[in-house]
Amino acid sequence: MTATATVVVPPKQRRELDALRRFAPVLVLVGLVIGLTLKRSDFLSIGQQQQLVESAAPLLVFATGMTVVVMCGGIDLSIAAFAGFASLWFARFVPHLGIGALVAVMLLGAAIGTVQGVIHVKAQIPSFVVTLGGLALWAGLALLQDKPSILIASNSSVLALDGRLVGVPRLAILAGSLALVTGLLMWATPVGRWVRAVGSNETAAYLSGVPVVATRIAAFAFCTMCAALAGCMVAIDQTNGSPGTGRTQLLPTVAAVVVGGTAITGGVGGVGRTVVGVLIVKVLGTGLSIIGIGQKWENILYGALVIVAAALTIDGSKLTVVK
């Protein structure tokens, strides 16, 4: 308000605090894993870990795309619905294009994300609204077909992606590579700065000649492309595409991004944090059901833990206004 005199905190203490904050998500993850291992000793076994990593793969892909959009200060609600839509087209393309179907569907995703981004940026309406409309549109269009699901022929080359490479699920490698490449791009090229600049102070970014419009649109294109990829990954795992593919993944995706430490208000965050967030959400979600707690209480506990995890990982002290 007033000459918002620079918040002066002794540098050393502040650094410690920041470091602690930065690693809070990791600490939460470790705490969860310890808790689960105490309860079920084989939680850390290879089999369990393989399974965890495998099931986390699509969520990581969703969340990687979402991270970029959230860092820009936006949100994309259409990802889950679009993943279902994409999985259908993927299954349809596979007989003709083989592995190329994956590329085709991702391009389709990028194109559609671009459209959503253009509407958001050019018509200047909140991304929440545009993508809410997208959610309805893609969910509706996915239903416009005769069969409830389209099978991917079992001899198809794309199904080879479902195997394991030296014990690590291939899909997880794919997801991990995507996150890694995205993280590298954000770190090593100006794009990451543009994204953070747009998310923190769009006006200043614009007036510095940052390609604000392009950055935003690209973020949405990338996010929808990731959603398409995630949809294909689920389809490969299920060996078919259906409108319901990935349907339930929207809120876990946002939760993973935010719990990982990316501010929902934009500007602050990163793909690395999201990886941790994804693991937290996955360990929470599947962990609760495997350790055999009273399942009646599972939802209540899940909700409570989401809040606790968020409270621990989100640096409230940096937010002057919490919304």
Partner: protein, 357 residues
């Protein structure tokens, strides 16, 4: 340092330069009123745009769908809007803060189950009749208050708080459900609830009363006015000595109370308590509020605007159904029209330096 101010003060003194100041003032006012006119043009669109969209939709459906413009159908639309309206009144207060509430389904499910188990039902010996509303509202308000307290005290963004709280609410509902759906056996109560007054269902009337209460709270109470103020400039409100956290928490609690009333209507209309009755209400309510002009950025819009949004959503739903649009397409069309409506309503506000997130 400003020479433009100093000569006047130094040479002739502040008090003796009214003539020049007068000129200034007039020029300034003319200029300011020009700015004002522009601003209000935008504001006017934001205010009346949704209403115009609603009118256009109604006209279109009246023209294309033969049964749309019948009294019976319009009463129906109002009846079908009742539950969503009340829930939207609630979420409007949260949106005015600039926060978001995704816990509506959880809270409503919990309230549905509490209510259905308190009135005369097939599961237990309770028979609270209409008095069941009191504990149900308390439950809803308590959930909302929990949202508010967690958001304000632990500084967790409302998005995350309410996602978590929704799961908690659903969990509570499932605990209470316990695999056995309670049927409402209180015939007089149900008859009252689905009965009609002047051809309008009681649900409609309850909704109208709730909307009226919502308008009064929003416009004439501290809670409502502060919620709007907090949404547009939280730090300023805090500097004025207002206990911002308290009013934020209260706004969430108020929202919870409204959800609970919507939940009561819901289970009375359905005649059963089921944890799935409230599915999809949350996004519908947010869509309605935003379409009506209660923006997610906070501080703008209000109860009446949100209700216009509810009517747009419901008229659309009703009209598309009457138009024989293929069922699978109905949702898709709704999505497109909602985005189109918001684009049209906010088009004049566009500006190169405008930041929209």
């Amino acid at each position: 340092m400003s020479i433009d101010a100093r000569p006047a003060m130094r040479s002739t003194g502040v008090g003796t330069s009214p003539r020049r100041l007068g000129i200034f003032a007039r020029r300034r006012t003319a200029n300011a009123s020009a700015v004002r006119a522009r601003a209000t043009a935008g504001e006017r669109v934001l205010k009346w745009g949704p209403l115009a969209a609603l009118a256009l939709l109604c006209m279109f459906f009246a023209w294309r769908a033969e049964r749309f413009a019948t009294v019976d159908n319009l009463k129906n639309v109002l009846d079908q809007s009742a539950v969503l309206s009340i829930a939207t009144v609630g979420i409007t207060f949260v949106l005015l803060l600039g926060a978001i509430d995704l816990s509506m389904e959880g809270i409503m499910s919990a309230c549905v189950m509490v209510g259905a188990l308190l009135v005369m039902n097939s599961r237990n010996a309770n028979d609270w009749g209409l008095f069941a509303v009191i504990p149900v509202v308390l439950v809803g308000a308590a959930f909302g208050l929990a949202n508010g307290l967690i958001t304000t005290r632990l500084k967790v963004p409302s998005f995350m708080t309410t996602v978590g709280m929704s799961a908690v609410g659903l969990g509570v509902a499932q605990l209470l459900f316990d695999g056995d759906q309670p049927r409402v056996l209180d015939r007089p109560l149900r008859a009252w609830a689905i009965g009609r007054v002047f051809g309008f269902t009681r649900a409609t009337l309850v909704a109208v009363v709730c909307i009226a209460i919502g308008v009064v709270i929003q416009r004439h109470t501290r809670l409502g006015r502060y919620a709007t103020a907090i949404g547009s400039a939280e730090d300023i409100v805090a500097l004025s000595g207002v206990n911002v956290r308290r009013y934020k928490a209260l706004a969430f609690a108020l929202a919870g109370a409204f959800y609970s009333i919507a939940a009561v209507l819901l289970f009375l209309k359905q005649g059963t308590g089921n944890d799935e009755l409230a599915v999809n209400v949350n996004f519908a309510a947010i869509t309605a509020a935003v379409v009506g002009g209660t923006l997610l950025s906070g501080g703008q819009g209000g109860v009446l605007q949100s209700i216009v949004g509810v009517l747009i959503v419901k008229v659309l739903e009703n009209g598309l159904l009457l138009l024989d649009v293929q069922p699978a397409l109905q949702r898709a069309v709704q999505g497109v029209i909602v985005v189109g409506a918001v684009v049209a309503a906010t088009w004049p506000l566009r500006h190169r330096l405008r930041v929209v997130k």
